[in-house]
């Protein structure tokens, strides 16, 4: 996978998260995953097509999802993942991926994205690629978020 395809996704997080009320985005581990990833509780998947093909997933615990949704909703308490919180989290996946897609398009790689899918559960695994994917671990204001990218041009 081309590193030039990865950076726009990281840039998107750095660009979008502060607009949603988050202060700090830290990148920690970067690993290559094969086959399936293990769902932490809440996973958002967005598909890409045209200039780049593939899927991007955002993987987090239920608690992390609640905390992110809470910040997105101006600090309103989100004790559980209700309809509004689910909507906020899926919109986050949409915004981040659309932002990355726009950056890719600016680099001459016209990309379209699908609607986000949200998967919630206590026991599931997700396959976003038939081969490999990149797993970037991020910490956003002490909340852990996994960014998983499997795209090819």
């Amino acid at each position: 996978m081309d590193v030039n395809l990865i950076n726009p996704f990281l840039e998107a997080i750095r660009d979008v998260m502060p607009q949603l009320g988050f202060n700090q985005v830290e990148r920690s581990k970067l690993t290559i995953g094969e086959r399936e990833l293990s769902g932490k509780g809440v996973t958002i998947i967005v598909g890409l097509s045209e200039g780049a093909n593939g899927n991007v997933a955002y993987n987090m615990t239920r608690d992390a999802a609640c905390r992110i949704a809470s910040t997105m909703m101006m600090g309103a308490p989100v004790p559980e993942l209700d309809e509004m919180a689910k909507s906020a989290i899926s919109e986050l996946g949409n915004m981040l991926t659309a932002n990355a897609a726009t950056q890719l398009s600016n680099k001459g790689l016209s990309v379209n994205i699908s609607s986000p899918s949200l998967i919630i559960g206590s026991d599931f695994r997700v396959k976003i690629s038939s081969t490999k994917y990149l797993n970037m671990e991020l910490t956003i204001d002490s909340i852990s978020l996994e960014l998983l990218i499997a795209i090819e041009t």
Partner: protein
Amino acid sequence: MDTIRVLLVDDSPFMLEMLKAALNIPGIEVCGTANNGQSAIDIYPILKPNLVTMDITMPDMDGLICSENILGIDDQARIIIISSMLDEALQKRGQAIGVKAFIQKPVNPDDLLFAIRSLFADQSESLSLEYYARNLSFALQKNLMLMANLNSSIDMAPTKKFRLDSSGIAIIIGITGSKKGKATLDLSPVTAKAIATKIFGHEQLSEDAVINAITEYFNISCGHCNSNINNSFQDIELRLTPPSVAIGDDMNLPKLVELEYEIIITTDSGTMKVNLELSGDGENGC
């Protein structure tokens, strides 16, 4: 939609009977038959059918000449060429005259009905979620027959449920292009195994092989659906994103938009569900 009245033109009594049988469904009425080109031209202004099926090789004239004559009488005439010979040159000639659809003999009734639906859809309907769902249902059913030799029945309706409780395997394919959306096929591992067994013709299948087979089935069906829609609407171009698959004993997929369609596919090998979401303009997804 009102009943579609069809005039069948073919010199073979056998073909006329086959076509009558294929079109013996609610919403379609065979209003007349003609066994040569001149009778078709004579009878067209009297019957004023909504649709003509046209053979090519007839004793008195070529089906394309006949079509040209009919289009001379009524430039809005909808004509489907049904011919044993169907090459690109013939299609080009037909399109130049104004023929809208072509089907090769022997006629698969599903293909014929689909061509008819598409012909009438592009005038009376815009690409709605319901239209997409109908096309996808058709492709799912057809490919289940082609790939697994499985008969199925389809139930399709807007879903009121606020989430899809997964039966164990959820295959997600994104829709991009002129519209933005996604389709999710959900089924149990037992159903997946049973259908994959039908596809492969044997039971010695790993979980991967099962999931790959079902994923491919879904991908092909969505691909066919998109191609058909792209062909039916001049201003629509839909694309698919690569499938992703979620597998688990406890997972659900919340409904994120107001309106989703649910397609339930029932077979002897089990039941599958497809949830479909499609929204307005997909341009760049922003």
